[in-house]
C-alpha cells in the first residue's frame, strides 16, 4: 500500500511499455482517448 505508484504503473502497462495507440489507459475501470481520435470531424 505504500508503493502504490509503481504497482499501478505495472498494472496498467503490464509489459512496462505504453500502448502505441491512444488507448493509453485500458484497465477494468477506466480508458482514455484523445478527443481527436474519432472519425467524422474536420
Amino acid at each position: 500500500m505504500n508503493d502504490l505508484d509503481s504497482s499501478q504503473a505495472q498494472h496498467i502497462h503490464p509489459d512496462g511499455i505504453p500502448s502505441p495507440d491512444e488507448l493509453i489507459e485500458a484497465d477494468d475501470l477506466i480508458e482514455e482517448i484523445s478527443i481527436d481520435g474519432m472519425c467524422g470531424v474536420y
Partner: protein, 420 residues
C-alpha cells in the same frame, strides 16, 4: 436499410472497450461539427461543403443560441465550428463567447482572414477555445493552387498572430493531397515554428472535392509514404482518426478506428439540417432539421437514419478481408461520392480492391451521387493559379431573396485586418 424501432440496441453495461460502446451510439454526441455559414471569402477547389455564398435561410443569432442551450443540456462537450468561413458571420464572436460561457467548448476552423492581433489575444485568453488554421500546402505555390492566391499569406499571418498572443497548441490543419504529401516534414516544421500542433486529415470526394478528387487524392505509393510518416510520428500528429483505412497496411494508427457518423458525431449545417457527418452532405445522410419541434435532441435520438447507423454493420464484400477489424471498410462518404457500394471497399483501399471497383464503374458519371447543395461563388472558381480577385467584390445579383436585417454578403460586418 431496414426500419428499426426507436430504441437502439445496446451492448450490456460494463462492456470492455469504449469503441464497442461508441459503435452503438450515445444519447448525445461527444462533439459535433456545426457549419455556421456557407459564406466564404475563398473558393477552395476541394471545399467539402461547396461553400461560397451565404444561404439566406441560415440560422439567426437567436436560433444559434437556442442550439447552444440544447447542446449544453445534452452535455455535448464541444462543437467544431466551420463553414464556409465562420468568422465572416457578424455574430461569430458573440456566439463563441455564448457557447463557452454555457460550457460548450469551441474548436473552430478558419482560413485566418479575421485572426487579427487583437482577436488572437482574445482567443488566447479563453481556455475553452481551440483554433484550427487551414493550410493545404507548406509553400504558397502548393497551397494557393488549391485554396486561392493570397490564402497562404493569410494563414501564416493568422498563425503568427496567435503565436504572438501566446496561444499554444492551436492546430495547423492540412488536407492531404497528391501535391502536399511530399511536404509533411515542412508542415511539421511550420507547426513547430508557431507552437501549433499539426493535424492531417483525409481528402474526401465531398462537395466540390468530388470534382477534383481524381486529380488530388494521394497516389497509392503516396498512401504508403503517408502511413509510414504517421506511424513514425505517433500521437504527436493528429489525424482526426481519418486515415483508419490505412491501418490495413499493418499496425493500426492512433485513434479508435471507428466511423463516428451518427454514433458519436454529426453535422449541423447553416440552415439547421442535421447530417450524419460533415463529409456527407447529401439527402441520403440527412437525419432532420433542428428547426422542427423536438429540435436537435429529437433528431439525434429518433432519426431512422441515425438508428440504422448504430446497428451492427456487416462488412459486406469486405467481411472476409484480414484487415476488416481495423479498416472497417473505410469511409462511407468516400464510397458514396465515388459511386461505390457502401458495403464494399473504400475507393482508396490499400489492398487495391477499391481501384478495381472504380475502374469498373459505368462511364456515365451522371450516375454518381451529387452533393445536395451548392453554394459555390457564381464567379470563376479558384482553380489553378489564376487570380480570384472577383471573390472579394460585391456580386451583381438580380434575384436576391429578401433577408430582413441580415446581409447576404459573405463579408457583412467585416473590417479587413490591417497589415500583420
Amino acid at each position: 436499410m431496414t426500419a428499426s424501432t426507436p430504441q437502439t440496441s445496446r451492448p450490456a453495461p460494463g462492456a470492455a472497450r469504449l469503441v464497442d460502446l461508441f459503435e452503438y451510439g450515445l444519447d448525445a454526441p461527444i462533439c459535433l461539427t456545426w457549419e455556421l455559414t456557407y459564406a466564404c471569402n475563398l473558393s477552395c477547389a476541394h471545399c467539402l461543403s461547396s461553400s461560397g455564398r451565404r444561404d439566406p435561410r441560415e440560422l439567426t443569432t437567436q436560433e444559434a443560441k437556442a442550439v447552444i442551450d440544447e447542446l449544453e443540456a445534452m452535455q455535448v462537450f464541444y462543437v467544431n465550428i466551420g463553414g464556409g468561413e465562420p468568422t465572416v458571420r457578424a455574430d461569430f464572436w458573440e456566439l463563441l463567447d455564448y457557447a463557452t460561457a454555457h460550457h460548450v467548448g469551441v474548436k473552430f476552423s478558419t482560413n485566418g482572414v479575421r485572426i487579427t492581433p487583437e482577436i488572437a489575444r482574445r482567443l488566447a485568453g479563453n481556455d475553452y477555445v481551440d483554433v484550427q488554421i487551414s493550410l493545404d500546402g507548406a509553400t504558397a505555390e502548393v497551397n494557393d493552387a488549391v485554396r486561392g492566391p493570397g490564402s497562404y499569406d493569410t494563414a501564416l499571418r493568422a498563425m503568427r498572430n496567435l503565436s504572438d498572443a501566446g496561444m499554444t497548441d492551436f492546430k495547423l490543419s492540412v488536407v492531404c493531397t497528391r501535391h502536399n504529401i511530399p511536404q509533411m516534414d515542412e508542415f511539421k516544421a511550420l507547426a513547430d515554428r508557431y507552437g501549433a500542433q499539426l493535424r492531417l486529415t483525409r481528402l474526401r470526394p465531398s462537395g466540390r472535392g468530388a470534382d477534383v478528387w481524381d486529380e488530388l487524392h494521394p497516389l497509392p505509393e503516396q498512401q504508403r509514404l503517408l502511413y509510414d510518416w504517421l506511424v513514425a510520428h505517433g500521437d504527436t500528429v493528429l489525424t482526426g482518426d481519418s486515415f483508419f483505412h490505412l491501418s490495413a497496411y499493418g499496425q493500426a494508427l492512433p485513434g479508435l478506428n471507428l466511423c463516428g457518423a451518427g454514433r458519436v458525431v454529426c453535422l449541423i449545417d447553416p440552415v439547421g439540417d442535421v447530417y450524419a457527418c460533415p463529409f456527407a452532405i447529401h439527402d441520403e445522410f440527412l437525419a432532420g432539421n433542428i428547426r422542427r419541434p423536438g429540435g436537435f435532441a429529437e433528431v439525434w435520438r429518433e432519426s431512422e437514419l441515425f438508428q440504422n447507423l448504430r446497428e451492427p454493420q456487416n462488412g459486406g464484400a469486405c467481411a472476409s478481408c484480414a484487415f476488416y477489424d481495423t479498416c472497417k471498410g473505410g469511409c462511407m462518404a468516400a464510397k458514396f461520392f465515388t459511386g461505390l457500394p457502401l458495403d464494399g471497399p473504400d475507393p482508396e483501399c490499400v489492398q487495391g480492391y477499391g481501384e478495381q471497383l472504380l475502374a469498373g464503374r459505368s462511364k456515365d458519371r451522371g450516375l454518381i451521387p451529387k452533393p445536395s447543395g451548392d453554394h459555390s461563388h457564381r464567379t470563376s472558381p479558384a482553380r489553378g493559379p489564376g487570380p480570384v480577385d472577383l471573390v472579394l467584390t460585391r456580386r451583381p445579383d438580380r434575384d436576391r431573396p429578401p433577408v430582413g436585417d441580415c446581409d447576404e454578403h459573405p463579408l457583412a460586418g467585416m473590417s479587413l485586418p490591417r497589415g500583420g
